[in-house]
């Protein structure tokens, strides 16, 4: 296990290093000088030069890359070109919206998908199964931002159960915060729930054909009892993997949903940064998202290896 762990950690570090190089290289290609952009067209040359020096833009690309990476590791993401505030603080503030939103959506998606998948598998080929599969087919095809607009129309504008947009912050209490994130989380969760329900159904159907399920039935358990006690538990391994992988996509998906609900999350930050050409903010947010994806994949692999010892031996 130790050998496997060391190999995976090495692979993780390598992936992060290459990803950071790619992101840095792409941003470097961007035309224009950030210092001139920050000071405007009327700025004097010596002022621009001083700012370039202050931002470290006169250093070589290699040393700028290393100072960016070491900064990221130590929590110093640099200073925003537009707002002149630390990027880490800006990102940190926005993460308090995006991260809970992604987690909330993940919980909702799991709560919807697992019962739906189990229900469909236990009624395979029957009306219940076909209804769930039909619903998941539509669920996978619905753009989450469109579904979000419909939710706003029905639950915010017509029924007035929720606010149509904005976020009042966590200072007003957990309940108020969760209430504000409920519609966005539902919109974000729907397509993921559709995929997860299909995975759950498929995994459970595979398990139902196993010998231990026949033994469970032979010792007198009903089909429902056998599914609950033995089937679901064994089918959960691939499902947990997908749940893990979905989290990183939910974090990226939150960027779009935040636009619909005008939530002050990472999405709003990155789009404002793109329009203001605040490239250091874009660079940091993109690195953060890629870090989340790589890290979640790493943790999923590790969990999988813990559950299934055969994988530790796989080269």
């Amino acid at each position: 296990m130790l050998h496997y762990l060391a190999k995976r950690i090495l692979s993780l570090c390598l992936s992060l290093a290459i990803a950071s190089m790619v992101i840095f290289a792409v941003i470097e290609v961007a035309p224009g000088d950030p210092a001139s952009f920050m000071l405007g067209t009327g700025a004097q040359e010596d002022t621009v030069a001083a700012l370039r020096e202050e931002l470290g833009l006169n250093q070589s690309k290699l040393s700028r890359y290393f100072s960016w990476v070491t900064g990221m590791v130590t929590g110093d993401f640099g200073t925003s070109y537009t707002y002149r505030t630390p990027v880490a603080k800006m990102v940190g503030d926005r993460l308090w919206v995006s991260l809970p939103l992604a987690l909330y959506a993940l919980i909702l998606s799991t709560l919807i998908a697992l019962p739906a998948g189990i229900f469909a598998a236990s009624r395979r080929g029957k009306l219940g199964d076909m209804s769930v599969m039909g619903a998941t087919q539509v669920g996978m095809a619905v753009p989450n931002f469109w579904f979000a607009m419909l939710l706003v129309l029905v639950f915010a504008i017509n029924l007035r159960w929720f606010a149509a947009g904005g976020f009042i912050g966590w200072d007003k209490g957990l309940w108020a915060g969760l209430h504000a994130l409920t519609l966005p989380a539902i919109a974000l969760a729907l397509p993921q729930a559709a995929i997860l329900a299909r995975v759950m159904r498929s995994a459970l159907l595979d398990v139902l054909n196993e010998d231990f399920m026949r033994s469970a039935r032979a010792k007198g358990l009903s089909q429902g009892q056998a599914i609950r006690r033995h089937g679901v538990r064994n089918a959960l391994i691939p499902v947990l993997t997908i749940i893990g992988l979905q989290f990183s996509f939910l974090l990226a998906g939150a960027i779009i949903i935040e636009q619909v609900f005008y939530l002050p999350g990472l999405g709003r930050l990155v789009f404002q940064a793109i329009s203001a050409r605040d490239l250091i903010v874009v660079e940091s947010v993109v690195m953060l998202l890629v870090f989340a994806v790589i890290m979640v994949n790493f943790l999923v692999d590790l969990t999988y290896a813990l559950v299934d010892p055969r994988l530790r031996r796989t080269p």
């Binding site: 095809a141 607009m149 995975v199 159907l205 789009f271 050409r277 993109v286 994806v293």
Partner: protein
């Protein structure tokens, strides 16, 4: 995700035909609408007609008009062109780069090349298409072409994995061994023998990626990273409808339904094709 063993083969084969037909019809309708829009639309999609703005569906404007009085059916038809073109080209990029990489990795299984290609794949997988689009847009600005590149890059590892996975088992088969004994190079075997035998897999994956491409294009256009005005796009129509959804819900409902019907159609088509190419079901039909 249903496995072929869930349902008796004959029953599954019937369901397969249904999904193939229904999926083919839905995707076909959208394709026809897109193609027809090159020569005919009920109205000029770009012409504004303020007195007729925000009309609900009626006899003249079958799907209503938007806040500038533009005919929504015409915009949906022309928007289909953008969506299908972006999805098609991004699948093309993914296939043309991913398949050779996958074939090469399988042909050199276990070598440093295989390892490098697969690790490269893992790395690209870490960049969701939205993140790639953000990066590209930050540098080059938003456009439909950049959306195609972003979705295309995301598709490369998908096709590489499918091509490699499908090829690996073929390399152990007798007919490949015979070709190697005949002195054919690995590259030639990959092109002449492996590729034709994994084409079914690639077609099915292509259909799935096509439907994902439609969704991705709509999302990117919605947040302003895809097609730019005056190019019509379903995603941009939804973005423009957002502030008016309470006054004229049809502005949002129509393009949304167009996306859903196309994606459902392509997904059903993919399911149907996958089952049609499944040898276990072919035996069941015999």
């Amino acid at each position: 995700m249903s496995s072929a063993t869930d349902i008796p083969p004959n029953q599954k084969a019937r369901a397969m035909s249904r999904s193939l037909i229904l999926g083919g019809m839905l995707a076909g309708i959208m394709l026809i609408l897109a193609l027809v829009s090159f020569v005919w639309t009920p109205f000029d999609h770009a012409v504004m007609n303020i007195p007729d703005k925000m009309q609900p569906p009626n006899a003249v404007h079958w799907l209503g008009t938007d806040h500038f009085g533009r005919d929504i059916l015409s915009m949906v038809m022309v928007g289909a062109r953008t969506s299908l073109a972006v999805a098609c080209l991004s699948v093309g990029i993914g296939m043309s780069l991913g398949v050779p990489l996958g074939l090469a990795a399988a042909a050199m299984r276990g070598s440093w090349l295989d390892e490098m290609i697969m690790r490269g794949n893992d790395l690209v997988f870490a960049f969701p298409s939205l993140v790639i689009a953000i990066l590209i847009t930050a540098v080059f600005g938003p456009s439909a072409a950049n959306a195609i590149i972003a979705i295309g890059i995301f598709n490369i590892p998908v096709f590489a994995r499918v091509a490699r996975g499908g090829s690996l088992s073929l390399w152990a088969r007798e007919f490949i061994l015979a070709a190697r004994v005949a002195g054919k190079s690995r590259a030639r075997i990959s092109v002449e023998h492996i590729l034709p035998n994994i084409s079914n897999l690639l077609i099915v994956q292509g259909t799935i990626q096509f439907s994902l491409g439609i969704l991705a294009e709509a999302s990117l256009s919605y947040i302003g990273l895809g097609a730019q005005p005056p190019t019509p796009s379903w995603g941009r129509m939804l973005a423009e409808a957002q502030t008016m959804v309470s006054l004229a819900p049809h502005l949002a409902i129509v393009p949304g339904l167009a996306i859903i019907l196309t994606v459902v159609g392509l997904n059903l088509l993919g399911d149907g094709l996958r089952d049609r190419f499944d040898p276990r079901l072919l035996e069941g039909r015999a």
